[in-house]
Amino acid sequence: MTITTSMDDASNRARRFVRRRDVRQVFLLWLALTVVLVVFGATVPARLMGAGASPSMHAIKNTMTLFSIAAAPVAAVVWAIALYSLIAWRHRGNTQPESDGPPLRTNKPAAVLWILLSSVLCVFLLIWGLAEMGSVDAAGATSDAMVVDVTGQQWVWTFSYPQEGNIESDQLYLPVDKPVVFHVTSKDVIHSFWVVQLGIKVDANPGETTTTSVVPDRIGVYDVRCAELCGLLHADMETNAHVVSADDFNKWVADNGGQSS
């Protein structure tokens, strides 16, 4: 009888494990599923979200894509084992199997490895999220940001521009590439100010003013929707955000009776 150390023992066991037929087949299945899910995750969410119009939205789309890709191998492990079990380990017949499966109860290394990997993944997601939060919050919160006051009320949005002579409008006009800070409030119930393609959302509360900021970086017409059920015509509480060139913005301000700052 040879005397082996526990390390040799463990590595022997590990080697025997990976050489097993079922382990190899599950591995291949896992690989295939991971590839499919990575391709899906890398393309579909971002495609569905449409083109973003601000660094914030680009960051959000990147997050969705990255998280989807990161989730792919995890989902694939679960689904590969589930799928393989139905192919290779399925009991054919309507009655109880005559004999039982192997009495495998505890596998501490597997549990530890699993918890470790998921914790590492969790820490990674967290750090990514915090960094993303930092960049998104800093984006528009500069001292020279243009201020737009947003007022929600059942069931319209009103935008006013204190720095451009307090002009009011029910369409949101923003100059491209300029940071803008929104001060949002409500006259009645809770609404939620959501500019979809700019990737910003903050609730409009009665009696409070909330803030969000963004730097629009693409010219176009985007959707402003209410994202908090606010009564009968919540579904109709929509308007447009027009991101235009600086000149067009000044023209719009002037046309509406204000003075550009």
Partner: protein, 657 residues
């Protein structure tokens, strides 16, 4: 049970026990509710100022409260306390009557304390609620099948969205703990009944009182705020909102009572020898869920009590103009609301975890990890609530910490997946409907869990919050994992609860229709959510048309599948094949009792000598339990009681792989 007296010898006059309770049943309960409700309505009208804009809420709440009290009087819920007050405690004959002895079917319509009766009552209540909620869902999806449908106007649509939500929330809270936590759990731990049989009946009948209150909201303008009932919109709402908040207040009391009962039962009434290591995982899951509900439901109740004050007497809890804050409502609500989703999810997933070893013929994998997973989820769930409020502006600096706690929940959740796939690994997979439910859960819960991680990321949530993405996420978790788990549990335990088998073929039809329909609905919903469709909208932009159309088709498939399930259950209950007492070869104690189950479950209380997962251990396994040579006193494996071995069979440690 505090002074249970054995009736020794024959008395000249046979005392049938029960007293007043003999005459009280569902009929007298409804009569009591209607009469007292009418009296309350009359006096409320008389004593309120009809020019007060709040008068309809005052009258509605008083009427509904009187209905509830009258209903409870009529079912005999106050009989116990009054007899206690007057010192006339229950006799043994009273207890036997209350337990439903020799009463046949009528015991299901009474204040019956037998946990098996209560379990069946909860099952019927759950099915009723799911049916109502499901019908509303069909109406919702019909409205949304095209962009500018006029099938329902905005008022009707908004009000049924909220009603659908709250009905389903209540249904899913009770769907596993109610039927199976009551019927199966005491037998599974080797007890004769619950710790507090009369509280058991009370918790069911409180729910029964609350259901008409809730459904009445549909006739009083519905719940046009969504199921979450945010103030101050909830302040504007019609009297249906009063039905909502009164139903919740009653339901919270019912839940607290049930939670105390189930937890005490498990803590103090496990069979001798059932140490925590030998306690089936379903017990852990149920106790975790109801234990979590104990501090959580009162938060919901509190939010509604304050709302009631605002609505009836113009209180200023949520009215910003008077120093109130909508953020107060949101905090109270989500302090309940997040733990609540685990109250819903954990019993369903853990029920599947309990049945998977039976259909894989393998021990539960990493039992300790499963327990840690449950504890981790429940423990963390009280620290994540404000991830529902990232976009509310209430405390932007707290968004980061809540993102941390929320993302951490993925770790113990992942452990649960490890346990299930580890149990399946190399098993002998017997693809019964319960086992198929486990596979469906593995698919649905991965999608639900991963999409939850997207939502936990603060900037991503700025895009996704309040969109259909959220709706799809929580349907994947609560319905895809939760309801699927409940259906699996139903097919698993139906033979024990009713003595009949459910049709496997019909079960297959329903299973595939529901699961395929479900995935079609909610994958389509993720798509429109990512594209920018808000939630709770009765109409939407043309750009979302395809996704919504697809979702609605899927919904009809679910509807048909659920009708097939209903037919399966009813026909199985009435004429299904008689079930053997252990059709699945399970090892937990409920499979050891014969069908029909004796009133007090066990002739002789068993002694547990090992856990219930000894599959594949052949002759070496000692088995889960033995019958002691001499009948024991009732189980007292409670706090502090030493683990006394009465068997000399040596225990086997589980062997590692």
């Amino acid at each position: 049970m505090s002074e249970a007296m054995v009736k020794l010898g024959a008395s000249p006059e046979v005392d049938h026990g029960g007293g007043w309770m003999r005459r009280l049943n569902l009929g007298t309960a409804i009569a009591g509710g209607v009469i007292l409700g009418a009296i309350g309505w009359f006096f409320a009208h008389h004593f309120t100022d009809s020019t007060d804009p709040r008068v309809s809420d005052q009258v509605t709440l008083i009427t509904l409260a009187c209905w509830a009290i009258g209903f409870m009087v009529g079912i005999g819920a106050f009989n116990g306390p009054i007899r206690w007050l007057t010192g006339r405690d229950q006799t043994h004959a009273d207890e036997m009557f209350l337990a439903g002895k020799d009463q046949g079917v009528s015991r299901y319509f009474r204040f019956t304390t037998d946990h098996k009766v209560v379990g069946i009552q909860y099952l019927v209540a759950t099915m009723l609620l799911l049916g109502c909620g499901g019908t509303l869902a069909m109406m919702i999806r019909t409205q949304l099948i095209t962009p500018h449908s006029t099938f329902l106007g905005p008022q009707t649509y908004n009000s049924i969205v909220g009603l659908h939500g709250i009905i389903m929330i209540i249904a899913t809270i009770i769907m596993v703990t109610g039927p199976f936590g009551n019927f199966i759990l005491p037998i599974m731990i080797g007890a004769r009944d619950m710790a507090f049989p009369r509280l058991n009946a009370l918790s069911f009948w409180l729910l029964a009182a609350a259901i008409p209150v809730l459904l009445s909201a549909g006739f009083m303008g519905g719940i046009p705020t969504g199921w979450s009932g945010y103030a101050p919109l909830a302040d504007q709402a019609p009297p249906g909102m009063d039905g909502y908040l009164m139903a919740i207040i009653i339901f919270a009391i019912s839940s607290a009572v049930a939670g105390a009962n189930i937890t005490t039962t498990v803590l103090t009434m496990r069979a001798r020898g059932m140490t925590w290591n030998r306690t089936p995982i379903f017990i852990y899951g149920t106790v975790a869920s109801v234990g979590l509900a104990l501090p959580a439901l009162p938060m919901f109740m509190s939010a509604q009590v304050l709302l009631a004050v605002d609505r009836t007497v113009s209180g200023k809890f949520y009215d910003a103009a008077g120093g109130g804050s909508p953020w107060l409502y949101q905090n109270l609500f989500w302090l309940f609301g997040h733990p609540e989703v685990y109250v819903i999810l954990v019993p369903a997933v853990i029920a599947l975890m309990e049945l998977t070893p039976v259909f894989a013929r393998k021990p539960l994998y990493n039992f300790n990890a499963a327990v840690l997973g449950i504890v981790g989820i429940v423990g963390l769930s009280v620290m994540v609530w404000a991830h529902h409020m990232y976009a509310s502006g209430w405390a932007p600096d707290l968004n980061g910490p809540f993102m941390l706690t929320t993302e951490m929940i993925s770790v113990p959740t992942g452990v649960l997946f490890l346990v299930v796939i580890g149990t399946i690994w190399r098993g002998k997979i017997w693809t019964t409907i319960p086992m198929m439910a486990t596979y469906a859960m593995l698919w649905n819960f991965i999608i639900g869990g991963v999409t939850g991680i997207y939502l936990s990321d603060v900037p991503a949530d700025y895009d996704l919050h309040g969109s259909m993405f959220v709706t799809a996420h929580f349907h994947y978790t609560l319905m895809g994992a939760g309801l699927t788990g409940a259906i699996g549990a139903l097919f698993y335990w139906f033979p024990k609860m009713t003595g009949r088998m459910l049709s496997h073929k019909l079960g297959l039809v329903s299973f595939w229709m529901v699961q395929i329909g479900f995935n079609v609905v909610f994958l389509g919903m993720f798509a429109v959510g990512l594209a920018g469709q808000p939630r709770r909208v009765f109409t939407y932009d043309h750009m979302f048309a395809v996704g919504n159309f697809v979702s609605s088709i899927g919904a009809y498939v679910i509807g048909l599948g659920m009708l097939v399930l209903l037919y399966t259950v009813i026909s199985g209950w009435r004429r299904g094949p008689i079930a053997p007492s252990n059709p699945w070869g399970g090892k937990t104690l409920e499979w050891a009792v014969p069908n029909p189950i004796p009133l007090e479950n066990f002739e002789v209380l068993p002694v547990v000598i090992s856990d219930a997962y000894g599959y594949g251990e052949g002759d070496v396994s000692p088995g889960h339990w033995v019958e002691p040579a001499e009948p024991l006193e009732p189980a007292h494996a409670g706090a502090g009681a030493p683990d006394v071995e009465t068997s000399t069979v040596p225990l086997q440690e589980g062997r590692a792989e």
